[in-house]
Amino acid sequence: MMPKALMIIRIAWRSIWRSKRRTLISIFSIVIGTGLPTFTVCLGWGFYNGLIDDVARLMAGHVTYEHVEYRNSPSIDLWVDDIQAINSALNNNDEVLSTKQMVLLQGVAHTAKGAVGVSLMGIEPSKEISVSFLPDSIVSGEYLSQGDGRRAIIGNKLAERLNIKVGKKFVFTSNDINGELVEDLFRVKGIFKTGSSAFDSYVVQSDINFAREVVGLNSNATSQLGIIVKNPDNHDKILERWQNELASNDGVFLSWRQIMPDIATYIYMDRGSLVIIMIMLVILVQFTMFSTILMSVLERKREFASLLAIGTKHVELNLQIFFETLIFGLIACPIGSFLGVGALKWVEGYDISKLIEANPEDMSIGGFTMDPIITPFFSAPLILQISIIIFLLVLILGIVPMFLVSRISIVDELRA
């Protein structure tokens, strides 16, 4: 059996190289078929991951701990307690990079110019500085520091609407934890610009301690505890464990997908369209591949007929064709992956905004601007997965010519 298989492989191997042009076309099409999805998917995933990470760090982390009801109505009277204990437990956890407490108040900011609905995020300034990109997005004034009290930072769009500058005041009106209306004066310490017009026209940040004071929340309670994990990819698993081990009765650990469903949906859809484009591309490439395989079989009908005439079985011929496509796949798929990764390495770190000179807001997903610096997502399993999928598709394509072989009429083919 073995020598027979070896011989079939030998025939397959030599047959491949007998028609170099056709072989190169086949290999080229598979290389493209593997390389392009690898390139695009890793690039896309890189963008998404960067976006998710940025937004998670800006907002409530990859995983958020909050009151079970908070999702339904994000109001200040739905807070989670006993934060110190949970926080220290989390910070001792290997998978956690950092945690951030946030008190979130919905309300209205007024100036003489008018009143605008805003969301006040009470945050721990030192944490934000280490975790979020917002401190780097200050365009005038300064970011917060601990004990800033009435000093707040606001988005540039909001500043425009309130006609307010650094050092000026605004009044923030909200409800305290008892539902009573509260009003407080704030002074603008800094103005930030993230590029997300939703964020820049809606968010006010102040020191969490002052925010707690405003609404009467004790220092062991918070609206949200955001958790930045080391590996966002497997946060779902950790989340379940924490829910069992750490959560109090009315507290719940949620994924960023639940906290920011807009972004999750957008990414999901965008991924979907990317995948559809990829599938179309792959089909196109496979079609080229398929036609070259088909051609190579049709051209060799006579050869196959003579092989059959001297006693070769159909199975053995099919095996030969299978080996031919297998060899194509084995050569081309790794090359494709390799070239895909190479191309990614090549574009890595490139600033696309230079390329398309686009307004950063044109590149936003769910209101958040993508980082214009290309940071591909290099994941061996992902790259391997793409390669294997294409490889399997190639093998499946190799099945069709086998039907052709089984229908060869030896006598007709051999009649000179």
């Binding site: 209205v108 003489a112 009143a115 009106t173 209306l181």
Partner: protein, 249 residues
């Protein structure tokens, strides 16, 4: 809602009230201004005209108030909006929509939206009178200006007071403290809006300006005008009157 607005204006005025001794104690003067419309309780009919660049409308409203914290306003005209009512008790506000027969509590997030399309926000109507807490007063002019014998009281917000203005000037007649004008400046002391009191008439035995016009300075073609058609003071109203049940009648 409109009435609430009115109420608020009162409050605006009211917030200027707080008595102290002395002949020309600014707080005492503001106190009198505040008392002007309110007394212990009041009941009146008001016409509200709102002019914006795009549209103009006029509503007739019936208003009840008691103390600083309770007020109820109902729309009488136009027919389309008849029955629309706003209740304020303390810092809470509710709207009643007769068409859908529902009471809606105005959440804090809606406090910044315009009240009945006027140049007042819901929030304007709810603001507490904390004038003494929030401002420091001084008399900055006393004498004749534009042919009127007036007193000008300047209110400077205290540090950290939840006030958006940089300065408010209240101008009243020197003899009877009837208000003439309130001028609001922003933090940079730029003129922001002016509230004018005109058409002084005797109503229910009291001399009051029956026309109040609010003009936002950055949109001079727009205005909100309130006219008192009728007002009665110190009518007896139960506290129960300011209830959700009453709101729906």
């Amino acid at each position: 809602m409109f009435k609430i607005f009115l109420v608020n204006i009162f409050i605006c005025i009211i917030f200027l009230n707080y008595a102290n001794a002395s002949n020309l104690d600014p707080e005492k003067i503001l106190d009198e201004v505040d008392d002007l419309y309110r007394s212990n309780s009041s009941h009146g009919i008001i016409t509200l005209s709102v002019t914006t660049i795009n549209w103009k409308r006029t509503l007739t409203l019936e208003q009840w108030s008691k103390g600083e914290d309770n007020s109820l306003i109902k729309v009488l005209k136009p027919k389309k909006e008849k029955g629309l009512a706003t209740l304020r008790v303390d810092k809470n506000m509710w709207n009643y929509m007769p068409k859908v027969k529902r009471v809606i509590k105005i959440p804090s997030s809606m406090m910044s939206s315009s009240w009945m399309g006027s140049h007042f926000t819901n929030d304007d109507l709810v603001k507490q009178s904390r004038m003494t807490e929030d401002y420091t007063f001084s008399i900055t002019f006393e004498g004749t200006r534009e042919g009127k014998d007036i007193i000008e009281i300047t209110c400077i917000p205290n540090k950290d007071a939840a006030v958006v203005w940089g300065r408010v000037e209240v101008i009243v007649f020197r003899n009877d403290y009837i208000p003439i004008r309130m001028i609001y400046y922003d933090e940079d002391l730029l003129l922001s809006r002016i509230l004018e009191f005109t058409d002084i008439k005797i109503m229910d035995g009291k001399m009051i300006p029956t026309l109040m016009s609010m003009i936002p300075v950055n949109e001079p073609d727009e205005s909100t005008i309130i006219r008192w058609e009728k007002i009665q003071f110190d009518v007896s109203i139960d506290d129960e009157f300011f209830s959700l049940r009453k709101l729906q009648q």
